[in-house]
Amino acid sequence: MHVSLTVNGQRAVTDVEPRTLLVHLLREELGLTGTHVGCDTSYCGACTVILDGKTVKSCTMLAVQAQGAEVTTIEGLAANGDLHPVQEGFWERHGLQCGFCTPGMIMSAVGLLSENGSPSEGEIRHGLEGNLCRCTGYHNIVRAVEYAAAKMRGEEPPAPEWEEGSA
């Protein structure tokens, strides 16, 4: 079947099997492999993208359902190459380890902050509940989102909490 959609500002037109999932269209037809697949049951959030302004799990949608949609994937988040504040937050506050959950986590955090610019820790934790991370224990993901939220409000981000080691 024919689908045409806009991905990261570029028009994409392609033929897919009707049962093709959006995530597989992105990864395998368009080569946008930053969006990951972590489960078979729409549970882990690794595949999260922004579709028409809302975060969606791209494994829960057929590619053909995205007909005409505007999709932003992790590759499209850094406008003109500059990191999005959420990306910056993840880097500054060690919000990732293996990086596999990270694209989905970042997209969800972008979605969360677009709805609530000053989330409390609890709101961040509940807002990201649909994205699983096996590496970080979420501690620094929360710090990363707090950093980004402050940045996006034009405020100084909270100081990092690293303790000095010794050597």
Partner: protein
């Protein structure tokens, strides 16, 4: 690098450096195996057993083979000539590459389908018709240990071996220890307290499912294999061994690996089978697990049942500890399977001096193989010990911190201290660490607060536990105990390696033998080299995971990479530094002894204005005609580090919980950890490792349960049935540390990958039992899901033990 973190350019050990690996990962440009698309690549799906135990009557693949785009369907007979799966510790039944006339666990691979597309391979797998004759499975551990029914009819017993100590292996000494404990039990002034507990099976579940792409090039006579593995060199060797090739005929590449936690520390049958298919079909072949595959057919962890008994006097002096347990190996042994409880044996007596008799039998059952999952044997050992100590402290009415302090191996017994099995330990200061935890946490105030809330009828509990870990494997001599990696053609010992090369432009390439699965090696290793050479971190690039270019290393597991391969890289950097001093001396017409490395180059002590850059030094190295007589060109060095021992990190953790008496819901209110991993290279990365480790230990305590049903079914196919902790389930963690460097390696680092997991499950369970203790509850098995906790509360109320 270092935006905003105040990176020291003179000494970057012990400083926070932002991760070198992150820019690719936050932009989505990092390459994981499943991202790879090669021209002509085919896809694999497996036909898996729906039974735990059955005879395979017939496999009819004719419908599948007739489907469009299906290239081949392979069954056991097609791969019989390749033998069983190569296995390092080959004790017990080894896994056939594909099941033949019997299947021995749910999800065992019976046939492999290769097709043009991912979806097509799955369709065809569904069309393979397998007829089974179901048999009764052996699932229960006690039943398995009794040999009432055999898992494998050609074996005499389900019990493979029992790890017993200590001192390890010395039967007379073991009997003497048992006698000492029996004598203590016989005294009038002692009490013995036992708990029987399940340390449930866990599913490792890294977020990246395992994935492998094999590409046989008949002209080159070489496999190129991309795999999401923790052990690229062992995989290359395992493939070479299986196909009768040399190590140079197999190139394995582990690119970005999306978490491992031990489950990618195995050579898998699917990795061998895609190689076979690629060779047969002359095309690249990919297999990527579904989450369902990952749940049922990637190794599991834990799976013990045991009774732990503490005997001591009313003042808290412990006179004996006994552990009697059974550990589930699953149906087949893989890489380390039977060795996992052995790691538990090492630390069976934790931080304590008391006589210990520790025995765990390893049994086959009709379930998926167990092997290393974060902590691997050590969380189980710490769990039983620390639960039993708490039960004893409660029985005698002495503060659990006090009981622990009374029984510690004293700080002044280092150096020279040994574990209960007689294995020497490096360094330790347990009392200082515990005191630091109690003081930092405000233990007395927390207890007062708990008691106040308790008086109001609230179920609030405090849980304490300590641990000592054995990691940083080493020693190289583990080879002599049978852990030689020879099955994978790399009889390398538990050593490490690193290669440091200064390029002509003065930047440095570091190539290491291990590869990370998220631990930040590219950053940590750059810090080590930067610290020795004064080349800024941003001018150092660390490569790993490609066996064609990296020196031999056995992999990242057992919290060993920084201690062993990091130390090798440190030594390689020192060799480069020595040569660079000669080169700089030649340029500056001075003596090498007077050369100082600073500010991205070198100068003669006292004359910092006459500086030569690393590029000047390297340029000279690559223009050998300018060198003084007898000096070789080039500026690189390789070093192998052979650790004389493992390392022994330790720590103590405290948890504060509240239980909802009406629902059984457990709230983890605070989690405070005081870990000691020796020196710290990058505190940010070390803290991150602890956070993740805690989440997995707390996950076991509160959420995760990978146990099979009695009929051998595994109802844990997705994250719905196997809930990982979510962001909403966990609190922010309060981390602190003491620093007791090791003397085993030049960096003084011990390892931190597993400590959080090893220390945490029992801390949480101790807190919950403490919360429920006013009701008379003394034990609840993990995971502490509301239903189970609620049932324990109801049972206690019915028993009338409520005061």
């Amino acid at each position: 690098m270092g935006g905003g973190f105040g990176v020291s350019t003179t000494s970057v050990l012990g400083g926070v450096v932002k991760r070198r690996e992150d820019p690719a990962l936050i932009r989505g440009t990092g390459l994981y195996v499943d991202d790879l698309q090669l021209p002509g690549m085919l896809h694999v799906a497996f036909v898996r057993s729906p039974y735990a135990h059955a005879r395979v009557v017939s496999v009819d693949a004719s419908d599948a083979e007739a489907m469009d785009g299906v290239r081949a369907v392979y069954t056991a007979a097609d791969v019989a000539h390749l033998g069983d799966l190569v296995t390092q510790v080959a004790v017990g039944k080894l896994r056939p590459l594909l099941a033949g006339d019997k299947v021995n666990h749910l999800g065992e691979a019976v046939a492999m389908v290769v097709a043009d597309s991912r979806y097509g391979a799955r369709d065809a797998a569904d069309a393979v018709d397998v007829e089974y004759d179901p048999l009764d499975p052996v699932i229960d551990l006690k039943e398995a240990a009794s040999d009432a029914a055999l898992v494998h009819e050609d074996m005499e017993s389900n019990v493979l071996l029992a790890w017993e100590g200590g001192p390890w292996g010395d039967e007379e000494a073991i009997a003497a220890t048992q006698q000492t404990i029996a004598d203590a039990k016989g005294r009038d002034d002692t009490v013995s307290v036992s708990i029987e507990a399940v340390n449930q099976r866990l599913l490792p579940m890294p977020m990246e499912p395992r994935s492998v792409v094999a590409d046989w090039n008949v002209g080159y006579g070489r496999f190129t294999v991309h795999s999401s593995t923790q052990i690229a060199h062992a995989l290359a060797g395992g493939i070479a061994q299986t196909f009768g090739l040399s190590l140079t005929d197999v190139r394995c590449i582990a690119p970005e690996v999306g978490g491992g936690f031990g489950c990618k520390l195995n050579v898998y049958n699917d990795e061998i089978l895609v190689c076979f298919a690629s060779q047969q079909l002359g095309r690249p072949v990919k297999f990527t697990e579904t989450r369902r595959d990952a749940a049922g057919s990637t190794i599991h962890g834990r799976g013990w049942v045991a009774t732990a008994t503490i005997t001591g006097t009313a003042d808290g002096q412990i006179l004996g500890y006994e552990l009697d347990g059974i550990a589930d190996m699953g149906a087949y042994s893989q890489n380390f399977t039977v060795a996992i409880p052995f790691l538990g044996l090492f630390v069976g007596a934790g931080q304590y001096t008391f006589p210990t008799h520790w025995k765990v039998a390893c049994v086959h059952t009709h379930t998926m193989t167990t092997d290393a999952y974060r902590g691997a044997g050590r969380p189980e050992a710490a769990y039983y010990l620390e639960r039993a100590i708490d039960a004893f402290a409660r029985e005698i009415g002495v503060d659990p911190a006090e009981v622990r302090r009374k029984n510690f191996i004293p700080a002044d017994s280092f150096p020279g201290a040994a574990t209960h099995i007689g294995f020497p330990m490096d360094t330790g200061d347990y009392e200082t660490n515990l005191d630091a935890l109690l003081e930092t946490a405000g233990y007395e105030d927390l207890k007062a607060e708990r008691d106040r809330l308790r008086a109001e009828g609230r179920l609030v509990g405090l849980g304490l536990a300590t641990y000592v870990e054995v990691c940083g494997f080493g020693p190289s001599a583990l080879v002599d105990l049978g852990f030689s990696w020879a099955a994978y053609k790399i009889p390398s010992g538990f050593s490490g390696s690193g290669l440091v090369r200064v390029q002509a432009d003065g930047t440095a390439s570091v190539i290491i033998g291990t590869g990370p699965t998220g631990q930040g090696h590219q950053t940590t290793w750059a810090q080590i080299v930067s610290n020795q050479l004064g080349i800024p971190v941003e001018n150092i690039r660390v490569s790993h995971g490609d066996t064609a270019e990296s020196p031999l290393g056995i992999g990242t597991f057992g919290s060993r990479s920084a201690a062993v391969d990091g130390s090798a890289t440190y030594e390689a950097a020192n060799k480069v530094r020595a040569k660079a001093a000669d080169l700089a001396a030649h340029l500056l017409e001075a003596s090498a002894d007077d050369i100082v490395f600073a500010d991205g180059g070198a100068h003669v002590a006292g004359s910092p204005d006459q500086q030569v850059s690393w590029s000047d030094i390297a340029t000279l190295a690559y223009q050998p005609h300018r060198l003084p007589e007898g000096m070789e060109g080039g500026l690189e060095a390789h070093a192998v580090f052979s650790p004389g021992n493992a390392t022994w990190p330790f720590g103590s953790h405290l948890a504060l919980v509240e239980v909802d008496g009406d629902t059984g819901d457990v709230k983890l209110l605070r989690y405070i950890a005081m870990d000691d991993c020796g020196n710290v290279i990058n505190p940010m990365i070390v803290d991150g490792q602890i956070h993740g480790g805690l989440a997995q230990g707390i996950g076991q305590a509160m959420f995760e349960d990978g146990d099979y049903e009695a009929d051998g079914n595994l109802l844990k196919w997705s994250f719905v049935e196997y809930p990982l902790p979510t962001s909403a389930d966990l609190p922010s963690f309060e981390l602190h540390r003491t620093v007791t460097p090791t003397d085993i390696n030049p960096l003084g680092v011990k390892g931190i990958g597993e400590a959080g997991t090893i220390g945490s499950a029992q801390t949480v369970v101790n807190a919950v039992v403490d919360a429920l203790s006013p009701l008379g509850v003394t034990h609840v098995d993990m995971p502490l899901r509301p239903k189970r906790v609620w049932a324990a509360i109801q049972a206690a109320k019915t028993n009338g033990s409520v005061s």
